[in-house]
Symmetry: C2
Subunit: 184 residues, 2 copies
């Protein structure tokens, strides 16, 4: 029998994306749980999964994404949302202006937790931070991240193009593989 | 009668400092509580006080400190510890190199929580980030913060000199005033 689980998210696009990749319906649940301070997204999703489980008492998944900048020794990682809210994409480029090495990676982590065991799925895309934001600016740090082997930033790609290589999709595909293998 | 409360900290220096200013003995308690993601230290201390209270069920105080950089629109605030761990003081100076405005403020927040009511005490010191770290490098971002009206960074000051103007001391002195006024 298939395991039923919640997806702890308030984001309808993420829900749609997850359902498509996992090829199943998920129950979305929006819980007001503060995320823990950490650069490592795995720490963030595990802690959130634990706290979410305390509330819903059902198997669930939690997802989070981080941007790891090499010249900053991995900072900000999971804290990127705060840096982005305060500085914007332009500001991040400026802070990195004096660094020759612009390499970075995007990492998504999904934690599946059933009250007993944490199972984490990581999707990673290597790339670099561009000199100035490029493309549409409606989604996070997409305008400043260019995956390796591509000339476009995530924001310059079509939705389909981005989905085919994105860190989040990679993490969800690993989760799918796990669920398939465990017939759950 | 005097209210008894815990100080949630693992830091013996902070405990000593607090006891001196408050002129009373405090029970220190070290709880493994993840801090919430936020730039505002008040958010961090309130959330931590709430979670600590769930564990100890006694009145308690929680303290946290942030560094707010104007050119970065307040970032990193309470997240300074992560930026410091990853980049170090040198790195922070470098990230700020292209900004003409180096002004910043240090802010400490103490939350007193008795299970019913949060009472916050804020201590703030205005200053700026220096071009290069100066002074002994054994305590956080002291080598890069210079309070206004002084030529020395916190790290170049004697302990006594720093205590007389520090954000944390200011917050504790406000707490003392409150406790005295409420005879608690």
């Amino acid at each position: 029998m298939r395991m039923e689980f919640y997806f702890v998210t308030s984001n309808k696009n993420k829900l749609r994306e997850a359902q498509k990749i996992l090829n199943r319906r998920l129950k979305a649940i929006n819980l007001e749980i503060p995320e823990m301070q950490a650069v490592d997204v795995v720490d963030v999703v595990q802690d959130k999964a634990k706290r979410a489980y305390e509330k819903v008492k059902k198997p669930l998944i939690v997802e989070d994404t981080g941007l790891y900048i090499k010249a900053w020794r991995g900072f900000p990682g999971a804290l990127i949302k705060w840096l982005l809210w305060h500085r914007g994409n332009d500001g991040i480029c400026k802070m990195l202006e004096n660094e020759a090495d612009k390499s970075a990676y995007a990492q998504a982590a999904i934690c599946l937790y059933d009250g007993k065991r944490y199972k984490n799925f990581i999707g990673r895309v290597d790339g670099s931070i561009v000199l100035r934001p490029r493309g549409k600016s409606d989604f996070g740090w997409d305008p400043i991240f260019k995956p390796n082997g591509h000339n476009k930033t995530f924001a310059e790609m079509s939705g389909k193009e981005k989905d085919s290589i994105s860190h989040r999709d990679r993490a969800f595909r690993k989760l799918k593989k796990y669920l398939d293998a465990n017939r759950s």
